[in-house]
Symmetry: C2
Subunit: 984 residues, 2 copies
C-alpha cells in the first residue's frame, strides 16, 4: 500500500489502505517483492514468475487455484474470531465414555512450557543427537515409564495410537512366527476400534483375525501366531490372565496385551503376568483427548523381540569425549532401511505427546500417580455402591478399575438423561451402559450420576456419605506389589518450580526453529505460526471425547467439512479422508483404497506395486503391508524415473499391476517432465497412480496431484500444512482420491466416517486409525494456515519455496556439485548437494559435514537420502534471505575447511570436521590437544559470536550404543561415574 | 493421603482420598513434611512450628487467618473454571472511547513468546547486567523507539502510566526551576485522568496546578515552571504548538507534551516542535488495554535534563574484555540513592510491557507502523466524511488524527444505541461525543457507526463506497517528514520466524526463574504459577477499556470486591484501594491518605515523617513527594530500630508528627520485638503508622499489619502475591487502611472509586494512577494465588519461607557472618550475609561475590542494601531444599575461593572472583592469561557440567558507561567495530 500522507499532501484514500492490516502471508512467506526480484535475478531470471515458468513443466501447470472459502485469506485477528465461533459450536460435556480416551488434567506448567512452547513443538526428529539431548532424555523418561509400568524391559518412544499399536504387535507376532501361523485371535473385550484396526491391518499380511470370547480361544489348529487381550477390558472388567497366558505359551502362542497406564499403577503389570508384548495409549497421562488425538501410544516387549519392535527407540551411548549421551538406537530396524522387507511403515510418531506424558509422570511421581489411580478407582467403587443401593439397575459382578458396567431396562433413556446434565455415557447395547471415571471426575459428578440413574427415585445419600461403606474391588491376586518409577527423575520434580526448571533445562539442549532454519529435504520445516497453534489448546477443541455425540462437536464437524473441501480444491481430488494420522499411515490407507477398488472389480490378482528406487522407505514398507509385490524401477543419470524401464515393468506386470507409487516433484527435488507419460503408462496397464504428497509444498497453486493424473495421494499436514514436527510427531496424513476411489475411504466402527464430501455407495475398506478423524486436535493448524493464506498466499508460498531453493543452489553451486536439476537448470523446492567426492580428496563423509554444521548453529539437512553421500536441502518459503545466506555462508566456510584438508594444511584424521561437533565442556577444558584452535572450532564465522546454539555432547557413537543397548534410564550413580571418568 | 490398596487388602475409602487431586499448595510450597522436619532439626528445633514460635514475637502472633472465601483453597482446575465464570461476566464491546487507551492487535508471536513466556516474565530487574543482556537490548530498543518517535534524544525505560508520567514531568519542571516557580499550567485538552494525577501529585510539591484553555495561559506572574499540553488533544484535535512553545520558552517556561506514539509516525514530532519533555503511553503498540493496565508509559527529554529524568535508563557501556555491553545507566539518580532528596519514588516500572511495545515496533518496522497509522487516520476521515453526508450531527472542524468529535442533540441516546450494537463511545457532555479509531477498527465497524448516528435515517453509502471521496485532514505544517526507527533491528524482523528467533535470541541471554532461584532479599521472587498467569491473556480480561461501562465488567468488579475483602482479612485492615500500580506508588498513596486524614482534622501542620535509616530508598522519596519533613532514626547493633531514639524524635516532633514509616519484619530480616511499642509511641504522639508491606511474605497467617498496629500499609502484589517481576515490572501496590483512614482512599475522575469495601463519607484524596484500578489485568494473578492456597496454604507459605531462610542461614553461618538475628537466634524470611571483612583479608567486595555467583549459574542476592558490604538472601517458600542446598554450596565454594586469596594461594588482584563473570567468548578464546584454569573459572562445582546458565559478557563497566552516556541503539557499524576490536 502506498503512503497516504507522503509529502504532506491531502490525498484521497484507497479502500485497500483501509482494510485490516494484520494480514498473514507476509509473515509466513519471507521474501519481500524486492528480494524476490534480486534473488530471481541471481538465478538468471527476470522475475520470480519467469523462474517458476521455467521450472514447473507447462503440461502440468494450472493457472491458479480458487479456494471455495477464504479465497482472499483471513487476517490473523479475523482467524482467531472465526475459530472462536467454531469453538463455541463444540460443547464440552463431562465424558464417562472411556474406551481408551479419558479426560485428564494437563498440569499448567506442562501445558504452557511444553505444549504451547515453540521450543518444544518445532524441533525435528532427534536424528542429530548432539543438539537433541533434551527431548532424547524426555523420550527416555517415556520409555522408562512404559517399561516400569508394564514390567517389560523394552519400550519404543511412541506409536500413533492404541489401535495401530495393537496392529503393530499383531505384525510382530506374525514375524516372530516367521509368517507361518496365520491366525490372530482377538478377545472380544478389546475396544471396538482396536479390533477393527487389527482386522483391516491383517488383510495385507494375509492374517486371519478371529474375534472371540477368551474362553472360546482355540489353539488346536496350531495356526495361531498370537492373541490380543485387553486389561482392563473395554467394559471395565479386570481378568486374571495368568493361567491364560501360561496356556497360550504352552501352545507356542504369543500374547499381546492392551492395557491402561493408570490402572497399572495399582494392578499387577502385564510383564509379571507373562505377556510378550504390551500396547496402549499414554493419553490419560496429561494429554488432552482432543476429539481423538494426537496422543502417544506405546509398545513394550522383552529383550528377545527388541529387533522386531516398530518405531523409534531411544538408547544410551557415549560421545567422542567418553561421556554418556543419548540417541536413537537400532536405526537399521527402521522402515527406511528395510524398505520392502519392513513389516511396519511407521516414521513420524507422537514425540511431543510422549514428552507431555513423560513430564506428567515426572511431575506426579510414582506416589502421585498411585493416588490418582486410587482416587479414580475409589470414585468408581462409590458409584457402584450407590447404584446397588439405588436398586434401579444391576451391576456386572466382575472386578473393575475405573469402568462400571450397568444393566438397565433402557440404556438410551439413561444416556439421554445424562446428556441433559451435560454428561456422556457409553451405551453398549439397548440394556447396557458403562460409566468410566477419570482424574477429572468429582464427588459431585458421582452425585449427578446417581440422579441420572435414579429414574425419578429419591436419592437419600451422596457419594461422600457413602464413602465409609465402600470397599475396593481389586482382587488380591491382581494388586500390584512391585515398585515403579524409582529413578530420581521421577522423584525430584514435584513442585512447579522444579518441573519448570527441568523442562527448561531439557529445552536448552535442543535446537528448534526458534534458533535457526532446519532445512531438511523432504520434511518441509516451515513456520508453525502462533495463530495456527492457539486454538489447539482451547478447551473447546482440546476436551472433546472422540465418540462424543456429533451434535456436541459441530465446530469440529464444520471444520472437517471445510478442510476436506479446501484440500480437494488444492489437490484436484474428489474426496478426502482425514483419518490417517501420519504420512506413512496415509500411504498405507491410500494403497488399501486401491486394493479395495481392484477387489471391487474382481481384480483380486492385481497386487504388483511399482516403486522407483528413489522412493522414501515408507513407500515400499506400506506396499508390503498391503501384501503387494514390489517391483523397483531405476532412475536415469538426471535423477528422473527411467521411463522405458517403467514402461517395461508395467507391461510385464500388466495383468497384475495394482499401482505405482511416485513422489512429485521427485525425491530428487526435480519436476520430472515425464510425469504425464508415467501416469499414462500405469493407467494404460490397468494400474492406479499413488502419489506421495510429501513434496506438496512445491505443488500448491502451481499444479496438483489430481491434475497431474494421480488417483490417490496423502498429504503430510505436518509438512506443507504447518503442523509442527514436535520433535518426531504428531503429524497427520489425510488422503485425497479421485471419484472412483471415494467409496472405499476408511470408516470407523464407533463413529461412521468416509469421504469428505461423502461419496455415493460407500464401501469402506475398514479402519486405519483408532480415532474417526485421526488427530483431530491438530487439524485447526492446517485449516487456519489455508484460511489465512488464501488462494494467492498459498501459491506464493510454493513460488517462494522454489525461489529460496534455487537461490541457495545458485549460491552453493560454485562450491559443491548440485546433483539434479530440471530441464531449464532449476531445481524444485529442494536440492541435493553432492559430497561423495570428498571421501577421496579429504576423507570426509556427509556425517562430518552435518556435525560440523552444528558448530555453525545449524541442523544438518537430510543426509544420504535419497542419494547416499549427499545432503538434501529444503529451505521452505518461511526463511528469510538473511537466514538462507547465513546457511550458505556456513556451507561455503565448511567447503573452505575441507579444502584445507585437501591441500594438506589440515590433518585428514584430526580436523574441525572430524572433531565436530565441539561441545562447551570440550572447548573450555583446560586440556586442548587438537591441531586447530579453540576459536576455529567454536567461532568459525563471526556472527556466531553474537549468538550461537551449543551442542551439549561431542559426536555420539551409534555403534557403541547398539552393541550395549540400554533403553531405559540408567541408575544415576552409573551415569555420574561415567561422566566423571570422562571428565577426569 | 494413605495408600488405599496397600497390601492388596480390600479396604474402605476415606472421603479425603476422593477429593480432587490437583491441589495447589504442594506445587507452590516446596518442602514436604519430612523435609520440614529435617530442616527444622538442622536449625535446632523440634518442628517447623517450634521454629516459627521462636521466631515470630508472641505479642503480635495471631492464631490463624480464615479467608471469607476460598478458605479451603480451590484446586488448579477448579480455579480455571472459576476464572472462566468470572471472565464470562465481562463483555468485550468494541471500544471507541480513546482517552489514552486503544484496542490493539497483539501479534501472536509476541503474545506467546513474551507475554505468556516465563522466560520473559519471571526475571528480575536487570541489575546483574551480565545475565540480562537480552532484555537490556529490548529496553534499549524501547528507548530508541521513544527517542525516534518523539525526536528527543533521551528516553527512560518506562514509567507506570501516562498520568504519573505527566506528574513526573511536572516534578522535573519544578526541579529545573529549582522549586522557585510554583505554578504548573495544564491545558484543558489533556485527558481528565492526567489532569487529576497531576493535581494530586502537585499537592506534595506545593505546586499550584492551573487548568485552562491554551489561549488563556498566562505567564505574567513569572511563577510558571512549566506547562502541559496534549498532542493530539483528548477530544482529538491536532494543534500546531510551534508558536505556543516559542512563546513559553520566551517566558522561561518548560513545555511538557503528552502525546500518542501512533500519531507520531505521521505527525511532526514534539522534539521538532520544541517540547522539553514528552510523555505518553506505549499501550497501543501491542499491549492489551487490560481494563487499565499494566502498560508502559514513557518520558523523553533533551540531554540537558537527563540527570533529572525519573526511572531506569538503559545505556551502552563496555565489559571487562572491551566488548560493548548494556546496563542500567546513571543509577545514582535513582531514589534509592537520593532518598529524601529524591523527587520521584519510582522503582518497579513496566519492563515487560515496554518489551512488548518495543517488539511490536521491531515486528512492524517504521513502514508497518506508518501504514497502521494511516489506516486508522483514514478510517477516522471516512467516518467524519460519512457523518457530514448524513447530516444528523455536526463535526468539530479542527484537524484530527484518530478521534472525531461530534456534536449531536442527545449524546446519551446515541451512546446507548451504540451499546446495543456492542460499541462504546465517549460521551463528553450532553451534546458531545467523541469516536476514537484504532488498529482493530474495520470498515464494517464504521458502517455500524453510520447506522448508530443515522437516527433512523437511511444510510445510502458505506465506508468503502465513500473512500474515494475522503480527504486526509492532517495540515501540511504538521505532517512528519523526518525518518524514525532506521536502525536495522527495526528493519529486519518482519516475518514471524525472524521475530521468533530474535525474541529467543534475547531470551537466551537472560537468567530467569526458569533457570534457578533468584534469592533477592526484599524482592520475594517466588513461583509465578502457570494457572495464575493463564487468565491474564484471556481476551475477556485483556480486551476491556478501563472506562467501559461497569455493567460490562462485572467479572472484574466481582473480583475486585473479593480481592479487597481477602486482602483485608490477610492484613487486618478495614478497606483497600487497588489503584496504586507499584509498591512505591502505594507508599505515596498511603502517606497521602495520612496527610488527608490530618488535614481533615485541621492538622495541616502535621508534616514530620520519621523513617529509620534502614528503610528502603522509596520510603523517604515518597515522604518527600508528600511534602513531609523527614526525621531519620538509627538502628542498634542488632539491627533493630533504636527505640529510645525513636521515642525522642517522636516526642520532639509531637506537635507536627504525621507518620512513621516502618518495614516489618525489618529490612534487616528480623521480627523486631519492639514493634508494639514503636507503634504505641507514634500513636501516643499523634502520628500514624505507615507500614511498608514489602516483607508481607513473613506475615501472612502469622501476624498482620493491622494486628501489629499499623494504620496503613501497601502490599507489593509482585512480591508476596505472585505477580511476576517481568524484568522490572509490572507490579501492583494496593494499600489497606484502618477504618478512620478509609474515607480518604483515592478515587478517579472518570470512574469513581474508593475503598473496598466502600467506607461511609468518602473524601478521596485525589487520584494516584491513570486507571481506576491500576493494573487491573494482573490482579487475577494475586487473586488466584490466594484462592488456590486457601487459609492454610498461605500460612504454610509464610512458615516455609521462614524455614528456608533459617535453613540457609544455618548452613552458611560457619562460612560467613550472618548479620542480624531475632532474640532466639533465628532470622525472618530473609537474612544478611556479611562480606565486609573480606575487603581487608582478600580485597574482595560484595560485587565480586555477586559476579562470581553468576559463574555458578545464580543471580546474586540483594547487594549492599540495607547494609553496605553485605548480601541479603531471601529464598521464598517456592524453592526446594535441593535448590537451597545448591545455592549454599555455591556460596561455600566461593568462600573457599576467597580463602585461597587470604592464604596467598590466589592472586589478590587476579583471581576467579575479580575475573568473574567468565563469558563463553573468554573461556574458549585461544588465549588464556589467567592465573587460574579455564575449568576453575567455568565449572567450579560438578553440577554445572550438567547444565549451566552462561553470562554473555564479562563484567560490565558502569563508570565508563556513565561517562560516555549512550541511551539509544548505536549504529551497527560502531558496535561491530568495537566487538571486533575487542576480539582481535
Ligand atoms: C517422501 C516421504 N514420504 C513419506 C514420508 C512419511 O511420512 P510420515 O513421517 O508422516 O509418516 C516422508 C517423511 O519424511 C517422506 O519424506
Ligand atoms: C522494602 C521495600 N519497600 C518498597 C519497595 C518499592 O516497591 P516497588 O518497586 O514496587 O515500587 C521495595 C522494592 O523493592 C522494597 O523492597
Ligand atoms: O523421518 C523422515 O524420514 O523424514
Amino acid at each position: 500500500a502506498e503512503s497516504l500522507l507522503r509529502n504532506g499532501q491531502t490525498r484521497s484514500i484507497s479502500v485497500d489502505a483501509l482494510r485490516p492490516s494484520d494480514t498473514f502471508p507476509r509473515r509466513h512467506n519471507s521474501a519481500t517483492p524486492e528480494e524476490q526480484s534480486t534473488m530471481a535475478a541471481s538465478c538468471g531470471f527476470s522475475s520470480l514468475d519467469a523462474l517458476i515458468d521455467a521450472t514447473v513443466p507447462k503440461t502440468i501447470r494450472i493457472s491458479d487455484i480458487r479456494l471455495p472459502k477464504f479465497d482472499a485469506g483471513l487476517t490473523e485477528s479475523e482467524m482467531i474470531a472465526h475459530m472462536s465461533r467454531l469453538a463455541a459450536k463444540n460443547k464440552v460435556f463431562k465424558s464417562f465414555i472411556g474406551m481408551g480416551y479419558y479426560d485428564t488434567l494437563v498440569p499448567g506448567v506442562i501445558l504452557r512450557n511444553v505444549m504451547e512452547n515453540p521450543a518444544w513443538y518445532t524441533q525435528y526428529t532427534p536424528y542429530q543427537a548432539e543438539i537433541a539431548q533434551g527431548r532424547l532424555e524426555s523420550l527416555l523418561n517415556f520409555q522408562t515409564m512404559i517399561s516400569d509400568l508394564t514390567a517389560l524391559p523394552m519400550s519404543n518412544a511412541s506409536l500413533l495410537d492404541e489401535g495401530t499399536a495393537a496392529a503393530e504387535a499383531m505384525a510382530m507376532c506374525n514375524n516372530i512366527q516367521k509368517s507361518k501361523k496365520k491366525t490372530f485371535l482377538v478377545a472380544s473385550n478389546c475396544h471396538p476400534q482396536t479390533i477393527d484396526v487389527c482386522k483391516t491391518r491383517a488383510d495385507g499380511f494375509d492374517i486371519k483375525v478371529v474375534v472371540a470370547d477368551l474362553k472360546d480361544f482355540d489353539y488346536k489348529s496350531n495356526d495361531v501366531c498370537g492373541v490380543l487381550v485387553q486389561y482392563p477390558g473395554t467394559e471395565g472388567e479386570i481378568l486374571d490372565y495368568g493361567e491364560f497366558i501360561k496356556n497360550a505359551h504352552a501352545h507356542g502362542v504369543k500374547v499381546v496385551m492392551a492395557t491402561d497406564l493408570l490402572a497399572l499403577t495399582v494392578l499387577k503389570p502385564p510383564g509379571e503376568l507373562g505377556a510378550d508384548i504390551v500396547v496402549g495409549s499414554a493419553q490419560r497421562f496429561g494429554v488432552p483427548m482432543g476429539y481423538g488425538g494426537p496422543h502417544a501410544a506405546f509398545l513394550a516387549t522383552s529383550q528377545e523381540y527388541k529387533r522386531m519392535m516398530p518405531g523409534r527407540i531411544i538408547g544410551v551411548s557415549v560421545d567422542s569425549t567418553g561421556k554418556p549421551g543419548l540417541r536413537m538406537a537400532m536405526q537399521t530396524r527402521e522402515q527406511h532401511i528395510r524398505r520392502d522387507k519392513a513389516t511396519s511403515n511407521i516414521c513420524t510418531a507422537q514425540a511431543l505427546l510422549a514428552n507431555m506424558a513423560a513430564m506428567y509422570a515426572v511431575y506426579h511421581g510414582p506416589e502421585g500417580l498411585k493416588l490418582i489411580a486410587e482416587r479414580v478407582h475409589g470414585l468408581s467403587c462409590a458409584f457402584a455402591h450407590g447404584l446397588k443401593k439405588l436398586g434401579t439397575a444391576t451391576l456386572q459382578d466382575l472386578p473393575f478399575f475405573d469402568t462400571v458396567k450397568v444393566k438397565c431396562s433402557n440404556a438410551k433413556a439413561i444416556a439421554d438423561e445424562a446428556c441433559k446434565n451435560e454428561m456422556n455415557l457409553r451405551v453398549v447395547d439397548s440394556d447396557t451402559i458403562t460409566v468410566s471415571f477419570d482424574e477429572t471426575t468429582t464427588l459431585e459428578d458421582v452425585d449427578k450420576l446417581f440422579q441420572v440413574f435414579s429414574c425419578g427415585k429419591a436419592v437419600n445419600f451422596t457419594a461422600e456419605s457413602l464413602a465409609p461403606e465402600v470397599q475396593m474391588v481389586i482382587p488380591k491376586s491382581l494388586v500390584r506389589y512391585s515398585s515403579y518409577l524409582t529413578h530420581p527423575i521421577f522423584n525430584s520434580h514435584h513442585t512447579e518450580h522444579e518441573l519448570l526448571r527441568y523442562i527448561h533445562k531439557l529445552q536448552s539442549r535442543d535446537l528448534s526453529l526458534c534458533h535457526s532454519m532446519i532445512p531438511l529435504g523432504s520434511c518441509t520445516m516451515k513456520l508453525n505460526a502462533t495463530v495456527e497453534m492457539m486454538p489447539v489448546t482451547w478447551p473447546s477443541f482440546a476436551d472433546l471425547h472422540p465418540f462424543a455425540p456429533a451434535d456436541q462437536a459441530q465446530g469440529y464437524q464444520d471444520m472437517f467439512k471445510d478442510l476436506g473441501e479446501l484440500l480437494c480444491t488444492i489437490t484436484g481430488f474428489h474426496s478426502f479422508s482425514l483419518q490417517p494420522n501420519a504420512g506413512a499411515a496415509g500411504e498405507y490407507a491410500g494403497l488399501m483404497v486401491i486394493r479395495a477398488y481392484h477387489l471391487s472389480r474382481g481384480d483380486s490378482h492385481r497386487n504388483v506395486c511399482i516403486i522407483p528406487v528413489s522412493a522414501h522407505g515408507t513407500n515400499p514398507a506400506s506396499a508390503a503391508m498391503c501384501g503387494m509385490k514390489i517391483v523397483a524401477v531405476g532412475t536415469d543419470s538426471k535423477g528422473n524415473i527411467n521411463i522405458e524401464e517403467l514402461r517395461k515393468a508395467a507391461q510385464a506386470h500388466k495383468d497384475n499391476l495394482s499401482a505405482l507409487m511416485v513422489t512429485y516433484p521427485s525425491t530428487h527435488g526435480v519436476y520430472e517432465e515425464g510425469i504425464d507419460e508415467i501416469c499414462k503408462i500405469i493407467h494404460d496397464n490397468g494400474g492406479q497412480v499413488y502419489m506421495d504428497g510429501a513434496n506438496m509444498n512445491a505443488q500448491v497453486g502451481l499444479t496438483s496431484p489430481g491434475f497431474i493424473g494421480a488417483d490417490v495421494c496423502h498429504l503430510n499436514l505436518h509438512k506443507t500444512f504447518c503442523i509442527p514436527h514436535g520433535g518426531g510427531g504428531p503429524g497427520m496424513g489425510p488422503i485425497g482420491v479421485k471419484k472412483h476411489l471415494a467409496p472405499f475411504l476408511p470408516s470407523h466402527p464407533v463413529v461412521a466416517t468416509g469421504g469428505i464430501p461423502p461419496p455415493e455407495n460407500a464401501q469402506p475398506l475398514g479402519t486405519i486409525s483408532a480415532a474417526p478423524w485421526g488427530s483431530a486436535l491438530i487439524l485447526p493448524i492446517s485449516y487456519t494456515y489455508i484460511a489465512m493464506m488464501g488462494s494467492k498466499g498459498l501459491t506464493n508460498a510454493s513460488k517462494t519455496a522454489i525461489l529460496n531453493a534455487n537461490y541457495m543452489a545458485k549460491r552453493l553451486e560454485n562450491y559443491y556439485p548440485i546433483l539434479f536439476r530440471g530441464v531449464n537448470g532449476t531445481v524444485a523446492h529442494e536440492f541435493i548437494v553432492d559430497l561423495r567426492g570428498f571421501k577421496a580428496t579429504a576423507g570426509i563423509e556427509p556425517e562430518d559435514v552435518a556435525k560440523r554444521l552444528i558448530d555453525y548453529g545449524f541442523h544438518g539437512p537430510t543426509m544420504s537420502w535419497p542419494v547416499p553421500g549427499t545432503l538434501m536441502i529444503e529451505p521452505t518459503e518461511s526463511e528469510s534471505k538473511a537466514e538462507l545466506d547465513r546457511f550458505c555462508d556456513a556451507l561455503i566456510s565448511i567447503r573452505e575447511e575441507i579444502a584445507q584438508i585437501e591441500s594438506g594444511k589440515a590433518d585428514i584424521n584430526n580436523n574441525v570436521l572430524k572433531g565436530a561437533p565441539h561441545p562447551l565442556s570440550l572447548l573450555m577444558g583446560d586440556a586442548w590437544n587438537k591441531p586447530y584452535s579453540r576459536e576455529c572450532a567454536a567461532f568459525p564465522v563471526s556472527w556466531l559470536r553474537d549468538a550461537k546454539f551449543w551442542p551439549t555432547t561431542g559426536r555420539i557413537d551409534n555403534v557403541y550404543g547398539d552393541r550395549n543397548l540400554i533403553c531405559t534410564l540408567p541408575p544415576v550413580s552409573q551415569m555420574a561415574e561415567e561422566a566423571a571418568a570422562a571428565t577426569a
